[in-house]
Subunit: 337 residues, 2 copies
Amino acid sequence: MLNENGNLFIQITELGERKIIEYMQNHFDPMPNIAVSFGDDISAYELENGRLAILKTDMLVNKTDIPKGMSLWEAARKAIVMNVSDFAAKGVKPKAAIVSLGLPKTFTLNDIKEIARGLNFGAREYGAYIVGGDTGETSDLIIAVSLYGTSEKKGIMLRKGARSGDIIAVTGFFGKTAAGLKLLLGELNNSLDYEKKLISSICFPKARLNEGLKLRASDAVTSSIDSSDGLAWSLYEISKINRVGFLINNIPTANEVKRFSKVHRVNPLDLTFYGGEEYELVITLKPELLKKTVKSIKNIGGCLIPIGKVIDEPEILIEINGKKKTIEPKGWEHFKS
Amino acid sequence: MLNENGNLFIQITELGERKIIEYMQNHFDPMPNIAVSFGDDISAYELENGRLAILKTDMLVNKTDIPKGMSLWEAARKAIVMNVSDFAAKGVKPKAAIVSLGLPKTFTLNDIKEIARGLNFGAREYGAYIVGGDTGETSDLIIAVSLYGTSEKKGIMLRKGARSGDIIAVTGFFGKTAAGLKLLLGELNNSLDYEKKLISSICFPKARLNEGLKLRASDAVTSSIDSSDGLAWSLYEISKINRVGFLINNIPTANEVKRFSKVHRVNPLDLTFYGGEEYELVITLKPELLKKTVKSIKNIGGCLIPIGKVIDEPEILIEINGKKKTIEPKGWEHFKS
């Protein structure tokens, strides 16, 4: 916890989002017997029938979260998808969404229509419904989605649980959003097929809900997190909470990103590890169930890529051509980035 | 529904918040068999065990919702209270809140502490807990609270249900916030006791949760709504949805407001009917259970004031000294007010 003495007047930009949340949390009375609280992708508490209520909110702010070139429909859909991704990481189906919408005065009926359709599309895509909301006047567009569902207690995939010797695996390849953002913002050429794919990864992200549900059913997973703040950050979170480390020997860089890196002379490792707004799942699983689990994810049209193993030392190491290198615990963060 | 032809480029300021929500709602697929959807104070759907999940979100925006002179602690607490009030109107206990917080870059650690403490105070005051949240950078402070709970299906108090011949009653007196706002914003003298009370009604509003729970248990209530958009608006909503009207012969103006009206030469009816940010409950109930219900609310330290009766004609009439007058369906509304 932050030492308050003399610090009360420092600006939040010096702290970053995670420290702010941690600091606030210290002022909240904890709910007794809460099942999952701050520090995981969702919150959960036990209902009268022993099932869990699952709650999540994630806010999209135009200035920091909606790159130029993304439509309102895409932004609204994304506001839903980023919440669904957290449900996916826990293996829980979302049921209902409520939306707080901050709208600038200059918006037109057409803008509202785009937003409403994007929200609805995102919700229906993952089997959920928009059931309520509120609007207010803000200087910049804000879409705060809260997602709700229920779940059995058994088998919910938490961040806690990874053990040394487990396999670390991901549901897809990385680096596309970081490369896509460079295309969108740097006004680089983006007419080629592989470039379009990179941009689409930003404007039309997908949550790995089917994969998450299947992974939970596999009973193979020991810990799970989504990768919305970047792969390095997800690894670091799992590392920290479980006091373990990772040795990554199969770096999951997307093919389009390898090509982009060559053309634009960018380090593919940076794009792979330090992107963000990617919604792959990062899981650890029991080695003896790896083969079976990879197959079951393939059977539903997804993929599960083992990228290394969990080690005792609390470090994130990558191995390239026999050489080991440390990956720093950096990630995208509001107020700091 | 709005006719879209040619209207797509009109600005939302010409529509107002209610039309915006109505318009958006028309683009949302309805959840099948939803118990309570748009158009009531909360949303609700049936859980596996037959109970209802209750969901609500209400957003507080600094520019429009936090008057000068209100502290961050008070604003944060109020963001919770306004959501609790909607639960109160349905007779449902809130259990968990999640908060999306938009913070300006210039905020300090001390500001964060005030907000966290205000949120926690508001939640604990009504038996709920803050269990999760998200923060982002916004140009103006935004506190979007989502509130969750569960409830038996039986007896939940909805806006629909008022019948001609029912009594209309409220849980307190009106006009204090409208008068208090004039004191706060107009820089009028506010050192007298009655003036302090008026200001406190804005800075420290209370949700009538105990009253709501007791009212639900009474089985007397036929419809219920809170008065956050003003008494006139609440009456108008109940009138519209039930195709009934009201004859008000006991106008519930607070004593402090009567005094304020005399001193500052303001119409007390305007303050009483067209205020807002008041969190009294406005209910209709069976005449034969009125006496018993008034007593049971008194027993828990609250009050229930019969103000008139439900009539067939879809009008809101007040009767003063034998003369009848129509109350216009106006209320506070984002984007329009």
